[in-house]
Symmetry: C2
Subunit: 327 residues, 2 copies
């Protein structure tokens, strides 16, 4: 039986979305224990299924690392402290990314041998049902080559243990597929990975090919990773609005939608980030999942799902061991 601590506040859609998310999750996992933190009067629907802890402050979206540490009564800090005090198995929140990541890192501490934590998210690919593990998508502003090698190790363990891919194919995100291409950090990381004969390391990959379904793990520094994440989100959203517009054009096109609908629903499912639930912070001493700020109940329930799976797979312990054996 695993215990998840959940910050119920700070989502753009407020506590109704997170409450619905917890309910949906508990339907799938009635055996799980949830400790829900937030304004207790907003969490009444959970009083019979969860342990509730009252916390009345909400961390503002723009809060920095130091600011959040001072907000001791915020739902975020109470959640983090509860996670530690109760030795829980996972921590989930939808509040300010920067604050959540830095406070979790400061309080939970990094796994021995990890220099920097990385934010990881699975992305949809052209191959149905297949996701690719990409990290760091934004926890860091800059990364050294040796940090990129650590990201490769963590990503490989995740892909292997959570996605059950036996020999994950690992790539470095670069501006060309050849080994000699890349920023100075990427070139050196490529060199280091070749040197240690990193298991499954194929080489560099261009952003154009990242989602074609060939790669299992893609390693990048946090700055370029964030540009990749948000650039692809931006184009997907631009194209989705163009598709809507195309179908809404006139009566004929609306009828056209009805006739072609099934395929477009399937397309939406393929591209949907909601079933990935959120991004995981890999490298800290504990399972930490950042749900999308704009999570609805369905999406939030999958953030809990991801945390639960990571806890069951003992990803944190495995990362600790993996970092030792490959050094």
């Amino acid at each position: 039986m695993k215990t998840l601590v959940v910050d119920m506040m700070g989502s753009d859609n407020g506590s109704p979305a997170t409450v619905e998310g917890v309910q949906l999750f508990l339907k799938r996992h009635p055996e799980a224990k949830i400790i829900a933190i937030g304004k207790i009067e907003e969490l009444k629907a959970l009083q019979n299924s969860c342990e509730l802890i009252d916390a009345r402050d909400i961390v503002p979206m723009e809060a920095g690392a130091m600011e959040v540490m001072r907000l001791k009564n915020s739902s975020m800090m109470v959640a983090i402290n509860t996670f530690l005090d109760r030795k829980a198995d996972g921590l989930v929140g939808a509040g300010s990314t920067g604050a959540f990541l830095s406070a979790s890192t400061l309080k939970l501490k990094l796994i021995e041998g990890v220099e920097r934590a990385a934010l990881m998210s699975p992305f949809p690919t052209a191959i149905k049902g297949k996701k690719v593990t990409i990290l760091d998508i934004g926890a860091n502003n800059e990364n050294t080559p040796s940090q990129l090698v650590q990201f490769a190790k963590m990503g490989r363990i995740y892909s292997n243990k959570v996605f059950k891919i036996e020999n994950p194919k690992v790539y470095l995100l670069s501006n060309g597929a050849e080994d000699k291409k890349g920023s100075p950090e990427v070139k050196e990381a490529n060199h280091l990975l070749r040197d240690i004969n990193f298991p499954g390391f194929v080489g560099n990959i261009e952003a154009r090919d990242a989602l074609d379904g060939n790669a299992d793990v893609i390693v990048t520094g946090g700055f370029a990773g964030n540009v990749f994440l948000k650039g692809t989100e931006g184009v997907a959203s631009l194209m989705n609005s163009l598709i809507k517009k195309a179908f809404k054009r006139n009566l004929a096109s609306k009828l056209g939608y009805l006739l072609a609908k099934k395929g477009f629903v399937e397309m939406k499912e393929t591209m949907d980030y909601k079933t990935t639930g959120g991004a995981m912070l890999l490298g800290v001493n504990g399972v930490v999942v950042k749900a999308h700020g704009s999570s609805d109940g369905f999406s939030f329930s999958y953030a809990l799902e991801v945390a639960y799976k990571m806890a069951e797979a003992e990803v944190i312990k495995l990362i600790g061991e993996g970092l030792k054996t490959h050094e």
Copy 2:
């Protein structure tokens, strides 16, 4: 009357595509003079409308900077040397990006005051007909803050003179909209642009918002810019194949396509990179346009169009003057 020198070889689709491109361009601009370089027997269709110069070697796609400089009889090097000898107004090619950029930079030299050339491309946005000027999308592996400031100056001049935007809104691509967000280089570039009160500088922009039509110029280092360019291309191509699949599903969906077709054709036009023709190398002493390697005739004709427009707008002279006045 402007003269363009065109490397007719090295496109993925061979000389038939580039020949068609030149023909299409000359229909729109019968006043232009074209010097076409390549295997002369493949350029016969142009013998009455262009000056032809024979060059029999083709630069291999993977050729590096030094290698191409030794390939003196290649169509690429003959084109670059002809451009210089004849004091032509523009140079266009579809061959190996790395080789074309480095050889052009070495032979044409940088404009006084420019430390690094940048590859620039206009991207489609959510606002119909509006494009955003983004640079550097891949000429460099790393850039200093002062180079980013120079890119801002060059991008602003291009947007102003070629796209005729009176007061271009200039942004820095970053992992957050706040001034304090970014890689160390981006943070420092933000600081420098604020310090000199750079005209039209708004601040940082996230990749998610880059194509929403608000920005006129977006400045980025070449590594992150390339990840943005190729990441967005990759997702657009993934979604296009999903759209095709959705419509090809069955008889009903095919009928649906016929009914909704008009809107999707319009969407294709919005997203189409073909009318942008290619990427411009800004910062070298001359108009240099790199056409897409996969150019068809239509797309290649727009690469020539872009070079012609840049020559007419005297962009190179204006960049030289602009870099002096803002220093």
